[in-house]
Symmetry: C2
Subunit: 218 residues, 2 copies
């Protein structure tokens, strides 16, 4: 489960104390975090890009769903939610994968110890930040995982719908390669019903059409 | 200047009208936009990743600087600014590159017609959205380019500092390959002085250190 994300960079990507003159240790910690999160660009997901040329990485995915916030905000279940909060959740939600790797959503075996691996990763990655920011970022990630707030439910809906669109519009290549059926996809997409119900009909239309076309097993 | 971004995807990445039953043409336009922006993942920048394994693409860059908002917000020149607005600017600021490509910041020839190319690109890419959102997104991009608001000045500072950190922490590989000197870097980084003055000292320390180490020409 460590994938490409675990490889060490060749670069001396740490901040020398002498390079932060007049700066606090707070600033040094922020810089260390900024350099470290670059590794998310090496974490490959199962999703393939729309032109099918290669797999998507988690940094690209995180950008795409952050962009979905202003595009799809009107479909949120609750209209009075803090979209800045949603966007912050989305840009940090996959950072644990730097250590824990991306666990494919239909990989039941990988998912058994996913929570434990990701908790350890969250401790380390968010722990690079100054204490107040470490606490803030960790709370955002916990909120995303628990799905108890309107913001986290909408964030989860966006996180599910983007790879689903990639799957459908690349003729289900990833579904077929992993022997996924429509019931699994339906269950996986339930957070859309919860966080963005107006998009749920569309999801079901695409699932039915995918089955009809033979690109997704019934 | 068209780079990889201009290649057509093999996938049928358009939204069939029959797939949006009960949905408005508004929704169809939003879906078309969501599928189209995937192409930003193919636009390569000059910046290389921290481990030097490959060049960064503009989607990864956009994610990285959006994440910098909650990390570095305290260094903004003005404390009373709308950080959600900054984040929206950053996730859309490079979308014009889907058509116009990434113009290297020190490429004087490429920059001559950059504005014209990017205006045409903005018309097409943002024009995929429903009219109200097209107007909103175009205004965000214009604001970023003009640097007249506190939000756009902070956004520009973050957009400059991230590739600068990559350059410094990969021993100036991109600077050397493109024969860039410290005066050019200094000038390029001026928006940091403007939008995040507390980071300006740090930038100058790294520039001086890069010259001293011989990884950046004086």
């Amino acid at each position: 489960m460590m994938l490409e994300s675990s490889k060490d960079g060749a670069a001396p990507n740490h901040v020398d104390q002498k390079l932060t003159p007049g700066q606090s240790s707070r600033f040094k910690k922020q810089m260390e975090f900024i350099l470290e999160v670059d590794k998310l660009k090496h974490v490959l997901r199962q999703t393939i890009l729309m032109d099918r040329s290669r797999r998507e990485n988690s940094a690209e995915h995180s950008w795409h769903i952050a962009l979905l916030v202003p595009v799809l905000a009107e479909y949120s279940t609750e209209s009075d939610i803090d979209m800045f909060h949603v966007m912050k959740i989305l840009v940090i939600h996959d950072l644990v994968e730097i250590d824990a790797g991306d666990t494919y959503c239909y990989d039941d075996k990988g998912r058994e110890d996913q929570a434990r691996r990701e908790q350890i990763a969250a401790d380390r990655v968010f722990g690079l930040l100054p204490a107040d920011q470490a606490t803030e970022f960790r709370a955002l990630w916990d909120e995303f995982e628990k799905r108890e707030t309107a913001e986290s439910r909408f964030a989860n809906a966006l996180d599910r719908i983007q790879p689903f669109l990639h799957n459908y519009f690349t003729d289900g290549q990833t579904w077929q390669a992993n022997h996924i059926n429509s019931r699994q996809v339906h269950e996986r997409m339930l957070p859309v019903k919860d966080g963005a119900p107006d998009l749920w009909d569309y999801v079901n239309t695409l699932i039915a059409d995918a089955v009809k076309k033979g690109i997704l097993a019934e």
